[in-house]
Symmetry: C2
Subunit: 398 residues, 2 copies
Amino acid sequence: MTWVTSAQGSGYGVEHLPYGVFRVGDGAPRIGVRIGDLVFDLAGAEAADLVLAGGALALPTLNTFLALGRPQWMAVRQRITELLTESAHRAAVEPLLVPLDEVQMELPFEVADYVDFYSSEQHASNVGQIFRPGQPPLLPNWKHLPIGYHGRAGTVVVSGTPVVRPQGQRPGPDGPVYGPSARLDIEAEVGFVVGVPSPLGSRVAAADFADHVFGVVLVNDWSARDIQAWEYQPLGPFLGKSFATSVAAWVTPLDALRHAFVPAPDQDPPVAGYLRDEPHLGLDLRLTVNWNGEPVSEPPFAGMYWTPAQQLAHLTVNGASLRTGDLYASGTVSGPRRDQVGSFLELTWGGAEPITVAGAERTFLADGDTVTITATAPGPDGGTITLGEVTGLVLPAR
Amino acid sequence: MTWVTSAQGSGYGVEHLPYGVFRVGDGAPRIGVRIGDLVFDLAGAEAADLVLAGGALALPTLNTFLALGRPQWMAVRQRITELLTESAHRAAVEPLLVPLDEVQMELPFEVADYVDFYSSEQHASNVGQIFRPGQPPLLPNWKHLPIGYHGRAGTVVVSGTPVVRPQGQRPGPDGPVYGPSARLDIEAEVGFVVGVPSPLGSRVAAADFADHVFGVVLVNDWSARDIQAWEYQPLGPFLGKSFATSVAAWVTPLDALRHAFVPAPDQDPPVAGYLRDEPHLGLDLRLTVNWNGEPVSEPPFAGMYWTPAQQLAHLTVNGASLRTGDLYASGTVSGPRRDQVGSFLELTWGGAEPITVAGAERTFLADGDTVTITATAPGPDGGTITLGEVTGLVLPAR
């Protein structure tokens, strides 16, 4: 148990210790871990020889630390746990604890490539029914491989960054119309952050997932449904997605999620050999989507059809290399019930079934709306950990 | 005229001066420009105060130099031209000239995001006829916007890098089959390299093309047609493209292409305001695709329906930011004749019409094949410049 008594029961105790990059005033970005409502300044801790990571913690992004690999991740985590639990270290560590409300959070890692999957069967089925009514809701390939595509890494932003409503072409009655998107939406997702790279021309086995993936961030893959609908054939989503993707400021290490792994749904038909992961495990992350402060949906990540280990194996089966900082997201997380879906497209069934949010009838996002996605996961001893939230305010089109 | 007499008439005179990154033996990567069959070591030139670029030429990639912007690009180009034309500089410069056959070329810039367009009407029509026979060859959106998608930046490799045949799922008579791609193909394209970034939430006008784009590289967007065919619905190409994209080692500055701009094809229907570029100019680059040394096609870039300025305006119309090192490629360059197409899919009409290459009947790529794409462009005084080639050898699947 940590001597930071305020951290106990916060979801940010020593059983969690997510990493982020913070700034105080005009200072340089610094790496820290969150403990309760405090940031433990790891740049300062490494400078004081309290933690040793070969200088990786003195840098303005997590990337060099992420590249060190699991043995080093575990050693640093173990050391931080000692520092925050053994009272002998309190005097040295306490000056390095900064209240969260005195810092500004930065993008925690430089994103190399960003891939977005589409791995919730409920989400894919819902989208199929909305866009292709009367046809089979899932396309023939869906249960054979984790469908995915590359997104724009350069527009991945940290939680709290406002999102400007995108302009673009959308379908109109007499051909395309240009202007601000009228169907701005969210996608509540879970992202996986690659630490250890792999060489071009080789594959990463599903079994090696935890050797390459450092941790998890919540993701909001903002989506302009009207722009997407007009542009996406035949090469997939482009400008309907590339204007902003928000990620949480705090990266939760896989080591903090040991108690969250649960059996993933059975897969039928059987999957190709390279996609077999034994044990076949998902993560019991319980998301909440808050629209202007009102919880409107609780997507259950445990029900995802394809697991993150399968996604990683698929991503590299063609010999594609991994780089430190690669981010791959799960795809929208939707459960079987209407109050478990991860997009407003589904929540309002393509805009046809408005819902009431804070007393107003709503379909897609209005300027001035704020969406905040939160999540918890099972922790040790029946407790829970709280993932770093991802939030964003919608600004009017420019 | 340059005092490097061997450069005259080579396509790499002082009217060209493409930038690259080279290495001698185990030495560190250095920035250079090509003059004839020599590399002018710009890191050495900057260290000797022969060229001033604030240290940007002393780095292992072009990115910092690319970020400097057009006035600096022009000033450095002007200075290099002086050094290579005025005989007074010969004694200082000559020790900095390294024969090309003594160097190893590296990826010239770190790729930020990689976008691939689909802007040849002939190519899109051919693909439509091959994949959707009996239906309109172009989809309804094609003439309203430059269709594009994001590719994998981390697997962009420099010309000369061997390409390992990808494995993956492909369509079979009784469902998907796993194994090496049986329909490995090329796409001959022209890539545009972004130097000057733009902020998130703003647009880049077509008229500002030359303020942001530094130059041009030939691109081979290797494609596994069978993997692509099975995976691409509904989110577009993924593993069928992400295993390797080759780019030339030499980046030709836009300033070397002043004589290559030509009126682009008329566009009907009229395009949206943000896509109007006046003057509406394409580039008269004449590509040749060489298969195992035999020229099999001569794609004409001047006929592309969408111009690079329009592609840039479209890419950012939703507020997506640009980063230094962003690469966007034209899409496969195909002209109206069969001997002008930029893919083997088209050249052999989906594999149904084999061609004879070096005495053998061929459809798609075999292990051991080499494909080299070259190009020329009009230069000053009726001359031509030669773009840096992009070449790759196909290795067997692992």
